[in-house]
Amino acid sequence: MVKIFICIAVIVSSTLIGKSLTDKHAKKLSFFSLLKDFNSSLKRNVKFRRQNLIELLDLKSNDEDFNCFLSSYKLKVLSKSDEECFYPKWIDNDDKYFLKSYIEGVGKNGSQSELDFINSYEEIIDEKLLKIKEDKRKFANLGQKLGFIFGVGLVVIII
């Protein structure tokens, strides 16, 4: 009886570990989808309301990483600090560089140049989202499956 419980626990935990290792695709998809929304709201804002960027950085979403990204940048500019703002742990260097150039570039232009800036980034974000969706489709269940197989293998060895 104890052995059965141990076997189930091993399979479940290895499956979960496997899933969490490839979970970054889902996180990435959520993060960049919100970035696309943020970029669109910036565009509407520059065209119509012309609120300042600081007010827009108060945007709250259900993605904690994205909220931290915006609020840390707000804190950085308001405190006139040279420190880096928050970037999610799972992000690779290319994406980090992209986010840095984006967030540090917004608000620094007149309206027409700002719209050009936003539009150019909109295209890049769209391309990134397509790739992320493709990667998620390919790899999202891979970790889960590998974790499960690893767990089963471990159980066979234990038995």
Partner: protein
């Protein structure tokens, strides 16, 4: 005050005077601060200078990290801070078809700090009962804006007063109390403010700062001829030179303002008609 400046620089500036009127930041030159030390108005210099990078950071902070939101005022050479400080900007103008599109390569900033002196217009206000149109004449830095703000506030306790605050200096984004019956249109041109104000707000008095052109004057005339009293200011060192400005003489000829006040070192002097009539006929 001066919240858009670096914390250390702000503290150094504030510690120089009991009351600060003006701060000038120039690229690679010491910071100049004009203020009142309790006895006289003087200028003091900080030992540190401002770099080009510092100026850019200040501009960016001044516009709340959103250059597009201050684009129109930047084209006119100034940005107003959240606390109503008017910052004149010098740099290289970018032109398109003879129009200034924006300013880049900032080289110096002139920060004017608004002062709200309650009661500074009382000597004039208490002379008459009822509302009177008045034109305040003074050269820069003589207290025109402070005077008309206080006069408007005095009237706003009893009458409906509309402030046309082209540069957000009169209300400082609501930081200055303008009286219980005050309405404020911020960042509007005089043309928009006067024409729409007369139509939509039913004001007894309209207050506006700095008549600069014949377009401004036309808007003021429209209100005066519509039966609305106007309190306005104009730059000039004396009435003789003021009347040399082509666009202004019509307002004197038609006697549209009830009173002309000349401010000298923050002290108002009410001019008699004979004092300006001789220059008009000349």
């Amino acid at each position: 005050m001066l919240d858009f400046l670096d914390y250390n620089l702000k503290n150094k500036i504030i510690s120089l005077f009991a009351k600060i009127f003006e701060v000038r930041l120039r690229q690679d030159k010491p910071v100049a601060v004009k203020g009142f030390d309790g006895e006289k108005v003087s200028v003091k210099y900080l030992s540190s200078s401002t770099t080009k990078n510092d100026l850019e950071k200040i501009i960016y902070s001044l516009c709340n990290y959103s250059v597009y939101s201050v684009e129109e005022s930047l084209k006119n050479g100034f940005i107003t801070s959240n606390d109503g400080e008017r910052v004149g900007v010098c740099g290289s103008c970018v032109l398109s078809l003879d129009n200034v599109v924006t300013i880049k390569d900032f080289s110096s900033l002139c920060i004017r700090i608004p002062n709200d002196v309650k009661g500074c217009s009382n000597s004039y206000f208490n002379l008459f009962s009822g509302i009177r149109s008045c034109l305040v004449v003074a050269k820069p830095f003589e207290g025109k804006t402070t005077f008309i703000r206080d006069l408007g506030r005095n009237y706003a306790n009893e009458y409906n007063v509309l402030f046309i605050d082209e540069r957000d200096e009169l209300s400082a984004s609501g930081k200055f109390n303008l009286g219980k019956n005050a309405d404020v249109i911020r960042y509007s041109t005089k043309k928009f403010g006067f024409y729409n104000g007369v139509r939509s707000y039913n004001p007894d008095v309209i207050v506006c700062d700095e008549i600069m052109s014949s377009d401004d004057l036309q808007a003021v005339q429209f209100a005066l001829l519509s039966g609305v009293k106007v309190i306005a200011s104009i730059h000039s060192n004396n009435i003789k030179n003021l009347l040399k400005k082509q666009f202004i003489s019509a307002i004197f000829k038609n006697k549209l303002f009830d009173d002309i006040i000349v401010l000298d070192a923050f002290k108002p002097t009410l001019l008699k008609e004979s004092q300006w009539l001789k220059y008009l006929s000349a």
